[in-house]
């Protein structure tokens, strides 16, 4: 299958997952699993096929123009968090991503002569580092992390996306932003829990 078609399908699915997730957030009750799948497929198709209305491209291609291809890690985390009722991503993983991103992006974008992004083109040391990270995820009992990183490595070796750089399969700025926002999510959840427990004890 053409690499561009794969990329558009991925982007359509991602847009559909995000919209379904937003719908779920605004809904008063939890959607049944089948409804989530149905919504994702329906919205995904809307993004994938050219709709006309004066647009030269399908909606997914406009989103892709802005975001580029997302990393395999981001895709799998996003898709599975909506469709599989898994336990939340460990805070430690998010913390490491934030730390990594804060060091990686300034260096990769021109600070100094060391470019860590270049390691992603086939540095053995970097690859061993990634494997070690996945192994640690496994030892800390976050099995989903092991699967996701392993799939990302295979996707890189298979040249699944346009990039030949392993970094592009593991990390993207959206993953970093998501990880950075994690503390806000935790605070929000705590606030909600507090509000809910308060409601229980409110006099009727």
């Amino acid at each position: 299958m053409n690499m561009q078609i794969i990329a558009l399908i991925e982007m359509s699915a991602t847009c559909a997952v995000v919209i379904t997730w937003l719908l779920q957030k605004t809904a008063s009750q939890e959607f049944p699993w089948m409804l989530k799948v149905l919504l994702t497929v329906l919205i995904g198709n809307l993004f994938y096929w050219p709709l006309g209305f004066g647009m030269e491209l399908p909606l997914a291609a406009y989103v892709r123009g802005v975001t580029g291809d997302l990393s395999i890690v981001t895709l799998l985390l996003l898709w599975t968090s909506l469709l599989l009722a898994a336990k939340p991503t460990p805070i430690l993983f998010k913390f490491v991503i934030v730390l990594l991103a804060l060091c990686f992006y300034p260096l990769a974008l021109g600070l100094g002569m060391i470019d860590p992004y270049a390691w992603g083109y086939g540095s053995i040391a970097f690859f061993i580092g990634v494997l070690t990270f996945a192994l640690v995820c496994g030892l800390l009992n976050w099995v989903k992390g092991v699967w996701i990183i392993a799939i990302a490595i295979i996707a890189w070796a298979a040249h699944w996306h346009e990039s030949a750089n392993l970094w592009d399969y593991l990390l993207d700025p959206f993953l970093a932003i998501w990880a950075l926002l994690a503390p806000l999510g935790i605070l929000n959840r705590r606030r909600k829990e507090k509000a809910r427990s308060g409601y229980l004890f409110r006099p009727g």
Partner: protein, 407 residues
Amino acid sequence: MNRVIALCFLLLAAVIGFLHIDSLPVWVPFVISSPTAAEEQLELVPNTKSKIPDPIGTWLPETGAASVHAASLIALKDGGIRAFWFAGSREGAADVVINSTVFDPKSSSWSAPTVVMDRVSAEKGLSRYIAKLGNPVPARMADGRLQLFFVTVSIGGWAGSSISSVISADEGSTWSQPQRLITSPLINLSTLVKSPPLSFADGRLGLPAYHEWIGRFGEFLRVDAGQVIDKRRMSSGRSAIQPLVFVNSAQDATAYFRQTRSANQPKQVPVSQTHNAGQSWQPAEDLPIPNPNSALAGLQLNNGARIMVLNNIETGRYRLVLMMSDGQSGKWQMIEVLEDDEALPDEQRKEFSYPYLISVDGNDAHLVYTWNRQKIRHRYFSGAWLKHAHSQLTTPELEAPIPYSGG
């Protein structure tokens, strides 16, 4: 149990990953510069007054576009020259297209211009929204096909650029679907091309590129057909873009940059050097030639002489000169003033910019440059003319450095 299966899968991924790394091509030396040899020596209309023909000048055909810029050239197998440039209502407009035309050296004329790429073809081929097109840079692949790298922007200004490429098996008459080069980890933003690529001994291309968003620095891309397989930083910070690479030997090369320094820093040509075929680059001492934050073009001739075309002033782009170095001393001397509006008041001065140089037989030089953003000027310097200029270089009375009058 679940964990054991996951770890086994990770082991499988590790094996596949190591096999993949093992299959990647190793870094190889440069090919020592040898321009594409034309089958026939160029014979341009001889100048009857002198044995050495004067440089000839032509204009690239106009397409009716109000704004043109960033012309580049490549020698064709039949001795012709193919030019590329972008043209539209203004730089960065959605109607900008990449045009092409072929120069026939026998008649000294250009063919009717064609459109190689427009915005809609680019976005359909790349399956993503494209807002505008930019610099085209052609290359000759090891298998004889032509490859055209070009800049596209989806969001923002030129800082939001990415590089794509198309390939032609018929010397540029028809082109393949575009492919995107992934060069940056931040949404693939901000990599551009301007200068000609060079060849590695394994037939792959080394493409000098640059970032101009948060940082402004040179990058050296190792390109295998439509994808980047490695890249190395040529400079860092915010001071040097558009690297032009001269290959000194199989391992050594020197890059000259367009400076983009802040106001209180020297307005000279920044330099980087490599001693391991581009795997690592070290900043070196500036070339003492003024640079007003504008692109430079260069070429090494078969006799070892090097030529450069640039604006040798600190501000403005109203003067364009041809300089030559014997290749050994590293000293550059001006041999011809190509354009000069210094005598005119500021508001009447035209802009002469974005030069691009190639040689067909290794002795001569074709130059194109933007003429006041309205037209593309072409100049041809014959091998005899350049040889004569080179012989003048070595004359003792001319060895005193020519002062560069800053503007």
